[in-house]
């Protein structure tokens, strides 16, 4: 188990920013850390990287405890903090040399070349970090986190503020990294979780409200099965409610919304109903719930 978090809590003043959080992350897995702003994602990450100590609980990274042996933990972790802090007056390569020096990696030049290629920084490698656009700075941030080839990567909102193309690039990179390493990354963008993560951890007000593989989470969302249908002719509400499996009927302009029981598909019955009543169906669609819905359900206060 690469990262093991047990009963982790952090108190700031009277507020519990993180409250009794436990989870595990395996290697070869991308763990998405999802939650509204101020849910405790960043605080949890800071405790895993030994930047701040927990009030209660334990974190172990590759078998090392964060309190007892922080230096060993830091050797195993690559960390990209929130807002991606960088020295703006340093050159890209100079900065990577500096970081490589701290980690005492061997053959720094080769490693830097590799990383520059991996993160797509070839054209920008001789520039000042301060002169780079946000997307490229984010890449520098990723490169510095990976320089010592860590087993665990902790990325705090690595994709914030990127344009759509850069977003795709960085996501692919994270996905690729996740094949060999343990990646924990936080975000509040739902699509990203669906695109990148193998497992999702939803955290709200300092507590874990869901910890599931992504497909399990999607099934969880199947609460209400909503079918929206539009007929050319006028339809009768009572008759519609009589369709087998339909529990509730409501009308929105010309569209009818039929709510069916969990896990049932009533589209066939609706079609049969239309044929029997000489109605022409102009449109019919089933609303699939996404992780987004689960997120809303779980974090609604």
């Amino acid at each position: 188990m690469s990262v093991k978090v047990q009963g982790l809590s952090k108190q700031f003043g009277a507020q519990w920013a993180v409250n009794d959080v436990s989870f595990e992350a395996k290697s070869g897995q991308v763990l998405g850390f999802l939650g509204p702003n101020g849910a405790g994602k960043t605080t949890t990450m800071k405790m895993i990287t030994c930047y701040i100590p927990p009030t209660q609980g334990q974190v172990s990274v590759c078998g090392f405890d964060t309190i007892e042996s922080p230096l060993l933990v830091n050797e195993k972790i690559g960390y990209l903090p929130e807002h991606n802090p960088l020295y703006k007056d340093m050159y890209v390569r100079e900065y990577l040399w500096f970081v490589g020096g701290i980690h005492k990696i061997s053959n720094t030049k080769k490693r830097i070349d590799e990383l520059i290629e991996m993160t797509g920084l070839e054209l920008e490698q001789h520039k000042l970090i301060g002169a780079l656009s946000k997307g490229y700075r984010q890449r520098v941030g990723l490169a510095q986190a990976m320089i010592h080839d860590p087993e665990v990567l902790i990325l705090d909102e690595p994709t914030s503020g990127l344009d759509p193309n850069q977003l795709v690039d960085i996501r692919n990179l994270i996905k690729q990294l996740g094949k060999e390493k343990t990646v924990i990354f936080s975000t509040h963008i739902m699509q990203e979780v669906q695109a990148v993560c193998d497992r999702v951890l939803i955290i709200n007000q300092g507590e874990i409200v869901a910890d599931d593989p992504i497909d399990v989470l999607r099934q969880k969302a199947v609460g209400n099965n909503i079918i929206t249908v539009e007929f050319k002719q006028k339809a009768d509400k009572k008759k519609l409610a009589g369709i087998k499996g339909v529990q509730e009927v409501s009308q929105k302009d010309k569209e009818w919304q039929l709510i069916a029981a969990k896990g049932t598909d009533v589209r066939e019955e609706v079609f049969a109903f239309a044929v029997a009543n000489n109605l022409t169906i102009l449109e019919m669609r089933r609303e699939l719930s996404s992780v987004e819905d689960v997120f809303h359900q779980l974090t609604k206060s």
Partner: protein
Amino acid sequence: MLSIFKKEINSFFSSLIGYIVVGVFLLFMGAFMWIFPDYSILNYGFATLHQLFDFAPWIFCFLIPAITMRTFAEETQSGTIELLATRPITDFQIIMGKFFANWLLVIIALIPTLLYYYTVHQLGAPVGNIDAGEVAGSYIGLILLAGAFVAIGLFSSSLTNNQIVAFVVGIFLCFFFYMAFDFLSTLSSNDHLIELFGINYHYNLLSRGALDSRDVIYFVTFIFGFLFFTKTALERRNW
């Protein structure tokens, strides 16, 4: 520690900071020693470097906090301290790296003043009529004093994320530890005991050319004391 040290030195000399510090220091020293007639070596009539060693601490009181104000304040402000703190190095290694880099910059600023020594050496009648032991002791004292000021500067920078606050607090603490104990001692009958705490007392003793281990120990203790305070201040995130 070496990486931090190199990075700091690089940032001094790849930006203007390093050159300005050395330039301003030499400009002040040059003006006092060669231009202003009240202090000028040429008018003074004695083959000594007293002016240099009397004025340098005052200039350091301003200059050193100006160099050190960014060390931790900037890192805290930009968040890069988080990246440093989550590397496999201890806080004390970070502090030591920064301390030696800043100290070295001040020592580099002092090196060209050796030319003044050479000049006075040549101007003496007969040539070489200058107390070399006194000058050596004074340089050692000045370098140790600079180290003490750098330690104070690092500490004040670690207190805040605002560089101006760090600068002002740094100047205050430098003046306080340099001179305040001398002034305070005049208020009390235990004047000698109070003087002992001040930097000036030990600096003056070293300046006489008598390299007493007690004075050196005073400076080393002083420096490590402030580096330890700096460490404590950085660790306040753990509270």
